[in-house]
Symmetry: C2
Subunit: 565 residues, 2 copies
């Protein structure tokens, strides 16, 4: 494990990670202390004006409902939150702008803003990539109330979409199954540039294998995938446009001087094949030229988009002619991509075609050539394909995945639960919106079979649940819902990712691959009935008996008593 | 008009705008030449390998279907596209990464990439903020095929979400009506940081008045709005927490030494009012303390969130007590915000309460105190509020607006329509997906009443439609759909925003406010039946008779002939 050091440096905390690197700023340089709602500043001023700004407050960040009709969520976005606060500092330009925006505020307030950083803030969080549930705090943030308020909007922004899209990716993985390749192709349809970049990063965490997004590849080391588009195919008119027609054999032992001719020979053999009679006649020559030219450029990685003109009558025969020519020279074609039409039917027909070629021309493995599909796919279409039966090996998924089309927002909120060591509650006409007061500790209790059984929140000073010791878990709001649990394993959920001045050890920010592994392990650990798409069982989230009593005491205390007339 | 100059500067075009400023880079520094799909690079290599990379190609950027079940779209995102290409240049670091990602590519290809910029590209576009329709090109991009392919993904990304969210904003404005204030409050729920920043910018274009997003305010000069949250209210326990209790009168003539006491006096008067008997009793003192402290900080801009405990029994009476105390000192309270419950009912009850106070205490204008509402609002809830009747003056809209919850993506595509002066067509099993070939010119034809009647595309060499001259407008794919039009006004839609080496004049990039004004004017210009929410009439998009014939000639030419057996 890497050594960690922390030192105070002129008021700004410099934290050194791993190989003595400082914690970098946010991936997106637009994430600045101004990336927040104006009311955070007006409140900060009102706190300051009333001498309340340094009062120590505790806020919980949580959501109230799992997305996509499911019963689980993947927690993501933590690293960016920590990178944000590790570098939180107003610039002079920002202060000048704020001053112009809030002319009613006294000068001293801007001096205060200029002076602050997050050295006095503590952040406790669930490990990024964990499976999480409604009402449980994902982050607990402690610090001076005015400052922590300023963090609300960026924290919620930095958690909401990453968690939403990672969950969406995990759900797509669940339906597709572990054996399929899942490729994220969403950049062009994402909600803006870093919608696209974040989608690539957090879909990878949620179980995707690769992305088409080159910048995400460079920033995060995510594997890249891509071939060619319809434009490439239609940019060719004839085989005459191909430049250098020679191709060295795969092992370098010789050179085929006219690869184009070799392809044409193979196409002719296919056209003459009895077993393919009636399947296709003349294929599109622009397409054949495009495929051939692409194979000449990438003989080791020839993957062709076969639906520009007609999949079975042109694209597949043209692909096979090129693939067989490559095979003569010792290369193995990478496969085809279908981007329109009936993917179940076309993939099965394509597989038959490939198998027939394997048999007719004795090319071992040709029948298994990879079929990628990529046309407006989502959870439902994957599920429908599974039910119909298909021969697709890899799915390229874009729009529905990255924009979270089925539910475009997660509703994380940030609620004050304690100030000056006084627990606070936020009431609401809607019971589901009542917040759970107190600085809490959070645990996941595991049962005998290794599954997580229930999450439980306790007051900060209660003794933690113990292995093999019976504990009462209560629904936070419904009196009748409660259960005794004897945990076989107890996991404390909130860890210290930003210790501020507390002197505690700081959890390391793990690399992306580790976060992805954590996510895959966590999903594997869940009881299957929580995970299924149709009517999943809700996972139980509870409070200790003591916390339950306290919530309800506070609630009655704060709620005005009505008068019925 | 500002002077414009262009000069070649070591291969990189430096274009100077307005007051001799260079065109700035993209707002989001993450928008780099790597923000594209890997296949754009593999295609670029295959073009290069085949000596085809410099062939001059023309691509159209367009969408196929208006979003949100409507019949119009607002075009936005152009400025960022131009800022992107004005600064398009690979860094050494990017080249190194690409080389590691594409080890099969020859060195010469990377030398080529290193050498390119967009000085040889031309971009013609619709004016940002215009109302636009399916199938019509929003951008026409001309240039070397390999380079223009690299631009596809960033252009589509930079247009899709801005146009989508601007359209969403315009639709919200349409339902809310012109007299209401519309405030964008979406940052925390947006799809990432620049999802939030872009939302603020493009919702402003679409007709919103202000945002809560401070960074968007600073970057774009958008008016800011904001007050306080529930946390501020629940952070107070009692009136004792208020710091300095004195408040100078508005005109500076005197000082109220104990503003808290003045508030309490007013609350007492309200409690004793016969006409309010039974409406409320004891109000929440934490809330009263929060309101009072906030008013002390912002006496000129006191706007209170009134639903933390109970709107009618606590929030409104507490607000009125503070507002009346402020009134004594010559200040006018800004209003209240409702963030939960039945907004129609609560706003009407609140208005009654305010009017009663105006009457009872003779405070002119108190009855008109601004009521802002902000709980999960969207087009439907605004429409429902209108139907029920309400007293809301301003709407704060977040999640549904900025994530475009009703439809989270616009489907802009980028299609090759010509290469080497040869028109190209992309076929599809789905007629709606067939692209319209040729380098085209695009016009909007206006009728006698001033409304736009129809958009028409012609071949590049056809003579343009003329005022008062009859022209046949044909549906691009349906033979029977055609109409003669005698335009009273003809507007050419595509203007030159990036002339490359063509020597043409470059359209200036207008400031945000001008784009917003354009949008408002364009929306006003539309015939009302295209704009209505229920069953709007589709606006007609057509091609010239000559282009129609050519499309269908090319189509038959490229499509393989099937054999029925």
């Amino acid at each position: 494990m890497a050594k960690e050091k922390e030192k105070e440096n002129g008021g700004l905390v410099v934290v050194e990670d791993g190989l003595n690197n400082n914690i970098k700023g946010p991936t997106n340089p637009m994430v600045t202390p101004l990336l927040t709602d104006l009311y955070q500043f007006t409140m900060a001023y009102a706190y300051w004006r009333n001498g309340k700004h340094l009062e120590r407050a505790v806020f919980d960040l949580f959501f109230r409902k799992n997305p996509f009709g499911g019963e689980y969520t993947i927690f993501a976005g933590l690293e960016e939150c920590i990178r944000f606060i590790a570098n939180f500092k107003f610039t002079d330009e920002e202060i000048t702008y704020l001053r112009s925006t809030l002319p009613a505020c006294e000068d001293g307030f801007f001096d205060y803003l200029r002076s602050i950083d997050c050295s006095d803030v503590e952040v406790y969080a669930v490990t990024e990539g964990s499976v999480v549930f409604p009402k449980m705090p994902l982050l607990r943030v402690e610090g001076p109330v005015a400052l922590v308020q300023l963090l609300e909007t960026p924290f919620v922004n930095l958690i909401n979409y990453p968690s939403l899209v990672a969950t969406n990716a995990a759900r797509h993985r669940f339906v597709a199954g572990k054996s399929k390749s899942l490729l994220e192709f969403g950049l062009r349809r994402a909600q803006g540039p870093d919608g696209g970049i974040s989608a690539s990063r957090y879909c990878y965490i949620g179980g995707f294998d690769a992305t088409s997004n080159v910048e995400a590849g460079m920033l995060f080391g995510i594997p890249l995938r891509g071939t060619h588009s319809h434009a490439y195919v239609s940019s060719f008119m004839s085989l005459d446009e191909i430049g250098d027609k020679s191709l060295r054999t795969c092992n370098g032992s010789g050179t085929c001087e006219d690869f184009v001719k070799l392809v044409q020979t193979w196409l002719n053999k296919l056209q003459c094949l009895d077993s393919l009679r009636g399947v296709f006649g003349e294929t599109n020559q622009s397409e054949l030229a495009a495929f051939t030219s692409y194979a000449l450029a990438f003989p080791n990685n020839f993957l062709a988009l076969v639906d520009t003109y007609d999949v079975m009558r042109s694209g597949i025969p043209n692909f096979c002619a090129v693939a067989l020519a490559l095979n003569d020279l010792g290369y193995k074609a990478a496969g085809i991509r279908l981007d329109s039409g009936d993917l179940a039917y076309l993939s099965c027909e394509t597989r038959k075609f490939f198998s027939l070629i394997e048999k007719e021309f004795e090319v071992p493995g040709f029948g298994k050539t990879t079929i990628t599909a990529s046309n407006d796919l989502n959870e439902e279409t994957l599920d429908a394909l599974n039910k119909q039966g298909h021969e697709v090996d890899a799915f390229g998924i874009g729009t529905y995945l990255v924009t979270c089309y089925a539910q475009a927002a997660l509703g994380c909120v940030f609620k004050l639960v304690e100030i000056n060591k006084q627990p606070r509650i936020k009431l609401s006409e809607d019971v589901a919106k009542v917040s759970i007061p107190c600085k809490k500790r959070c645990y996941r209790l595991y049962g005998r079979e290794g599954y997580p059984l229930v999450d439980i929140m306790t007051g900060g000073n209660e003794s933690p649940p113990k292995v093999a010791e019976r504990i009462l878990c209560r629904h936070p709001f419904t009196e009748s819902k409660r259960a005794y649990v004897v945990p076989q394993h107890v996991e404390e959920l909130l860890k210290c990712y930003w210790p501020g001045n507390s002197g505690k050890a700081r959890e390391k920010l793990p690399p992306l691959k580790e976060i992805r592994d954590r996510c895959m392990q966590q999903l594997d650990l869940m009881r299957p009935d929580h995970m299924r798409r149709l009517n999943p069982t809700p996972y139980k989230v509870s409070v200790s008996a003591k916390l339950y009593d306290f919530i309800h005491f506070l609630w009655l205390n704060e709620a005005p008593v009505g008068e019925l007339e």
